[in-house]
């Protein structure tokens, strides 16, 4: 009996050691330790032994069983580790193969600039407004201190539909609508398409986009205008941007100014974008003309305000390095996808 136990022990240990996978190992376990396993069978045969032999053999069998259990556990771990290693090896991939994704589309550069500008002014408490593009001369000219004999109303510059309906040549019309319909304090910007009778070329387009802004409140001064635009320029074009005011003339503002910003491409050293001058003409602005306030029912003795406006395409072109304005309206996907 003892010999038989020893024989089973040796045979099973060898088999465990040789087991190639978990399945084999499981079979071996059943073969020796299962209900009908060799060792179990041996235990069942113990009844045939003498009373003296029985505890000795019993002990021996139990010892062998414990040993085998331990071996099995050990082997199981080893095989599991091996299996994992093998899996990891087969599952190795080339991470540089092409990805699988829904390709992203793109937002047009003009929209990108407008959104950026909107965010800046929203943060300063401005609302965003828009109005009709096909607009009354009343809103584009009359109310803006641009009388009938003013050159800005020329048919050479403005698209007419009837004598008093035109394609707006500036988004200032939206400011008039705002001033007529609400009371100060007014803080707004109005981005949108405007129309001028310019033939299409690398720097002109009969349709382009403007963002105009308006503030009307008590005690608004020209230094506030300068401060606001400086803040805008820094946020939009970079923290180091400087702003410069030059006197100018617009019928709807007085005093009026043109504002230049230090070139955001070369930082003011002079480059192709700023034509070597270090400054880029960015916008027109000024204090709302008292006649305009009066026209809109706002008392210029009580309130003052400022207004400004700039072209979006110019900024987009300078910022993205686009040299021909026509690209913005040609809509070649190879162009669009770059943004």
């Amino acid at each position: 009996m003892k010999e038989k136990i020893e024989q089973i022990k040796n045979a099973s240990i060898k088999e465990i050691t040789d087991a190639k996978n978990l399945k084999e190992l499981q079979d071996i376990k059943v073969k020796y330790l299962g209900k009908k396993g060799e060792l179990t069978t041996l235990l069942k045969e113990m009844g045939k032994l003498s009373a003296e032999e029985r505890p000795i053999v019993g002990k021996l069998v139990n010892e062998v069983r414990d040993l085998l259990e331990e071996k099995f556990a050990e082997k199981e771990k080893e095989l599991e580790r091996k299996a994992l290693e093998q899996r990891l090896q087969t599952e190795n991939i080339d991470v540089t193969e092409p990805s699988k994704k829904i390709k992203l589309g793109s937002i047009h550069p003009i929209t990108q600039i407008i959104k950026e500008v909107e965010e800046i002014f929203l943060g300063m408490g401005y609302k965003i407004s828009d109005g009709p593009e096909v607009e009354k001369t009343y809103y584009v000219f009359d109310q803006l201190n641009t009388p009938l004999d003013h050159p800005a109303r020329d048919i050479q510059d403005t698209f007419y539909i009837t004598d008093n309906i035109i394609l707006r040549s500036q988004t200032s019309s939206v400011q008039i609508r705002e001033m007529e319909n609400s009371k100060p304090p007014i803080k707004m910007i109005c981005p949108g398409a405007v129309y001028r009778s310019d033939t299409v070329d690398a720097t002109h387009s009969p349709v382009f986009h403007q963002v105009e802004g308006l503030v009307v409140d008590k005690n608004i001064s020209m230094t506030d205008l300068k401060g606001t635009l400086e803040m805008f320029a820094k946020k939009c074009l970079g923290e180091n941007t400087k702003i410069r005011f030059r006197p100018h003339h617009f019928p709807y503002t007085e005093p009026s100014a043109e504002a230049d910003v230090s070139c955001f491409v070369c930082g003011g050293k002079g480059c192709r974008v700023c034509k070597g001058e270090g400054w880029i003409e960015l916008l027109g602005c000024g204090m709302v003309h008292p006649n305009v306030l009066r026209n809109c029912g706002i008392d210029p003795e009580e309130y003052s305000g400022f207004a400004f406006g700039f072209g979006v395409e110019r900024i987009a072109m300078a910022k993205f390095g686009i040299e021909d304005m026509r690209l913005l309206y040609e809509n070649d996907v190879r162009f669009l996808k770059q943004f």
Partner: protein
């Protein structure tokens, strides 16, 4: 307006270089466009005379010359064919500099030494227009005696050999070109710019024409001079008309100094009398005109409105037709000039003119502008008049012209003037309120400083009233004074402050937020945004099969840029199709595009009633290429609507929108409102555009959809009780739409149906011809209890029953 530094120096000392001067004037409000400096880059170029010309031994086209440059004889090799022995030419000697960074050195040309170069007009940086007898591509011939050629008529270049060319030709000139804003017609003169220069540089304004004020007082008014009379018939269009006469006129060339100044300002010399009128215009800003008195019939000048259809041939020899909006200067028979625009050929100064009438008048700016635009003539004169000139200045100008006539010895002034002045110029007076000006500017400028600035501009301040000089009609109210003060206080000295104002909301409107979401969704779904023009032509509308009832809503421009941009689009489809076509032409194999823009529809004839027309914001999607079909587009639309929380919409087949494929188009409806149309482009439309691929198109009316978007989302509890799922397959006729089936199921299942999914569509002859099998997965759930099998079984039975009765569905076993 061009001004030479030399001329400006007559008005103000200038102690900075011209570039710096330009910068300072720009910063003070007279914006400098360009600065041209001629002669500056030319060094060591002298006058030389060609003594010998021989052929080069080793070249067919090179010539070897000997040139006398005063103190020596130089050998120069040249390739220019236009020279002859005896010609006097400009010689760039060894070490000479020429414009555009050209430097001349002694060298060998095919083995022959050449000690310099002969120069062309271009190489000296000057233009042939100033030297009409010179050629563009050849050596400048300063003098060729046998043909009588001379670059400058009154110089004998034989006496100038070896002299510096810059001095001899007076090439050194700094010319500044200004952009003059329309409120400053006074700066369309050297005098005005000179005054701005003096104030800008903080110098004394020298006022060289001060004598004109005194002269003005001494010229007697007369009703008639030498039989000439003047009447203004249209005082609303003519504020003042002054005439002075000059007899025994000697027409001839102008002196060099005058020609030079005219040239610097971009004007050509004609003859002494005409040059005087132009000179006065440049100097004082008042356009003038000179008539031959013999051409004025009846010796009676009338300023009147033209007759409708009246014709006049102007000095440029073009016949112009006028009407009663136009003002003319007329004699008893005919118009002799279009007032303020151009003189008539019939009264031109001729070489034999003996008596000249100088006209100095001021016309209503609006009328001059209108006439000038209408006849298509924009002259130095009209561009000044249309800004609004000062009638006071007109008198100074005519007296200055007489002064110049005497100075030039061009004739004898006849004493006295005819001066019709129906509307005396009003002098502007504005109260000076320093505190309010400081408030507006955000500055702290003392009253004394303000007065100092204003007085330097000749705006007098008396008892706190600012009185403008005659030449500043633009200063009408406080803001105008503020600008003058700010300009010379310095815009660059204005601080940057942030306003201390009431807090305001910076929030977007619902429509703006919805647009942002749409933009984001489309970008995330792989579409690229485009920008299109709102213009359109009729052909594009037809090509896109736009319905006649939409087409007729197009808005027509009266002055389109060209025929392609004649209308404002009533539909965005043609713009999108044109873009698709562009991309196909560029061989882009796919393009998935969208455009958020307006369409313009003249509904109810609003435009004719003087009202703004309908202009809705439309999202237009256009796609071709890649693995897309109708359902891709539908999914995209569903995603957008989900993003903007529009949920209660139906999809309905649309067969009558002829821009779309009749079998592959649908409308998205909220109630009876069409919020979107989507589908494949009609094959006929594609043929019109010569597109051979399938193109998918959708239009979503953003303006409309805003009102259906829920802005508040609410949390619904995650279900606690389990769901029960059932699959059914039914066979129906092909023409039954799945939407119809889903509606029946949804209606029957009421609230218990949580989800319905069509997971298979199967067509086979075994099922039957024109039949399809639809397999659905239905998911039921009661949020208050666990559903029992029996309940669902009954539900399924009744659903199947309903499907059988309504659409003849047959359960597939």
């Amino acid at each position: 307006m061009k001004a030479s530094r030399e001329w400006l120096e007559e008005y103000s000392d200038i102690d900075v270089n011209t570039i710096e001067l330009g910068d300072k004037l720009t910063m003070a409000g007279q914006k400098v466009e360009t600065i041209e400096q001629t002669g500056k880059d030319i060094k060591n170029v002298v006058v030389g005379k060609i003594l010998e010309i021989e052929k080069h031994q080793d070249s067919d086209h090179l010539l070897v010359t000997k040139v006398d440059v005063g103190d020596e004889i130089l050998q120069i090799v040249t390739g220019a064919p236009n020279i002859q022995v005896g010609d006097i030419v400009p010689i760039a000697k060894d070490g000479a500099d020429l414009p555009n960074d050209v430097h001349i050195k002694t060298g060998l040309l095919r083995g022959v030494s050449s000690c310099g170069m002969m120069c062309s007009v271009g190489e000296l940086g000057i233009g042939v227009q100033d030297y009409p007898n010179q050629i563009e591509n050849g050596i400048m011939i300063l003098q060729r005696d046998k043909e009588g050629i001379k670059a400058i008529s009154d110089i004998d270049f034989n006496t100038k050999l070896g002299k510096d060319i810059v001095e001899v030709l007076e090439l050194q000139e700094d010319i500044i070109e200004f952009e003059i804003t329309p409120n400053r017609p006074d700066c369309l003169s050297i005098e005005g710019l000179g005054r701005e220069t003096a104030v800008t540089l903080n110098k004394t304004f020298k006022n060289p024409r001060k004598d004109l004020d005194e002269i003005g007082k001494n010229v007697q008014d007369k009703e008639e001079i030498e039989g000439l009379k003047v009447d203004i018939e249209a005082p609303d269009l003519c504020y003042r008309y002054i005439a002075r006469l000059v007899k025994n006129v000697k027409i001839g060339p102008s002196p060099k100094w005058l020609v030079r100044r005219l040239k610097a300002c971009g004007m050509r010399s004609i003859n002494n009398i005409v040059d005087i009128t132009n000179y006065v215009m440049l100097e004082l800003g008042q356009p003038m005109h000179a008539f031959d008195i013999e051409s004025i019939e009846g010796k009676h000048i009338t300023v009147r409105r033209a007759k409708d259809g009246e014709k006049i041939t102007t000095l440029d020899e073009v016949e112009r037709e006028l009407n009663s909006d136009d003002l003319v200067i007329s004699d008893t028979k005919k118009a002799v000039a279009i007032a303020g625009v151009m003189g008539g050929l019939n009264s031109e100064i001729e070489a034999d003119t003996k008596t000249v009438v100088f006209e100095s008048a001021v016309f209503y700016k609006g009328a001059v502008r209108k006439t000038s635009k209408k006849v298509g003539l924009r002259t130095e004169s009209s561009s000044r008049f249309e800004k609004g000139l000062s009638p006071e200045n007109a008198l100074r100008a005519v007296n200055r012209a007489i002064q110049l006539v005497e100075l030039l010895g061009a004739g004898e002034a006849i004493p006295g003037k005819i001066d019709k002045y129906p509307t005396v110029q009003k002098i502007n007076k504005v109260k000076l309120e320093p505190e309010k000006i400081n408030q507006l500017l955000g500055t702290n400028i003392s009253k004394e400083e303000m007065i100092k600035i204003l007085e330097s501009l000749e705006i007098k301040v008396e008892n706190d009233i600012a009185i403008s000089p005659y030449f500043r009609q633009d200063i009408e109210q406080r803001a105008d004074l503020a600008e003058e003060i700010a300009r010379f206080y310095g815009y660059d000295k204005l601080e940057t402050t942030l306003m201390k104002a009431e807090t305001t909301d910076g929030i977007k409107t619902k429509e703006q937020k919805i647009q942002d979401k749409i933009l984001e969704t489309l970008q995330n779904n792989g579409l690229s945004e485009i920008y299109t023009y709102g213009f359109i032509n009729e052909k594009e509308l037809d090509q896109s099969n736009i319905a006649p009832e939409i087409k007729k809503l197009s808005i027509c421009l009266t002055n389109p840029l060209n025929d392609d941009y004649k209308y404002m689009r009533p539909s965005t489809i043609p713009s999108m199709l044109a873009t698709i076509k562009t991309n196909i032409n560029k061989k882009n194999k796919d393009a998935h595009l969208f455009d958020i823009s307006r369409r313009y529809q003249n509904i109810g004839g609003k435009v004719e009633q003087g009202e703004v027309p309908e202009q809705e914001t439309i999202l237009t999607i256009g796609m071709y290429g890649g693995e897309i079909d109708f359902y891709t587009l539908k999914g995209l639309m569903e995603n957008i609507l989900e993003q903007i929380s529009v949920s209660h919409y139906d999809i309905q087949k649309e067969t009558k929108n002829h821009s779309y494929h009749p079998g592959r188009c649908a409308n998205l409806m909220v109630g009876k409102d069409i919020i979107a149309t989507l589908g494949e482009v009609h094959p006929e439309v594609l043929m019109n555009y010569e597109i051979t691929e399938r193109v998918y198109l959708a239009e979503l009316n953003i303006t409309k959809v805003v009102k259906y978007a829920r802005s508040n989302k609410k949390y619904v509890e995650v279900p606690k009780f389990p769901a029960v799922e059932r699959d059914i397959a039914i066979i129906v006729d092909e023409e039954i739409e799945v939407g119809q089936i889903e509606k029946i199921i949804t209606k029957k299942a009421k609230k218990l149906l949580e989800n319905i999914e069509l997971f298979d569509i199967y067509r086979d002859e075994k099922i039957g011809k024109n039949k399809k099998s639809l397999a659905y997965n239905l998911k039921f759930r009661d949020k208050n209890k666990t559903l029992q099998d029996e309940e669902i079984n009954n539900m399924m039975d009744s659903i199947i029953n309903e499907l059988t009765t309504q659409v003849g569905a047959e359960l597939r076993k």
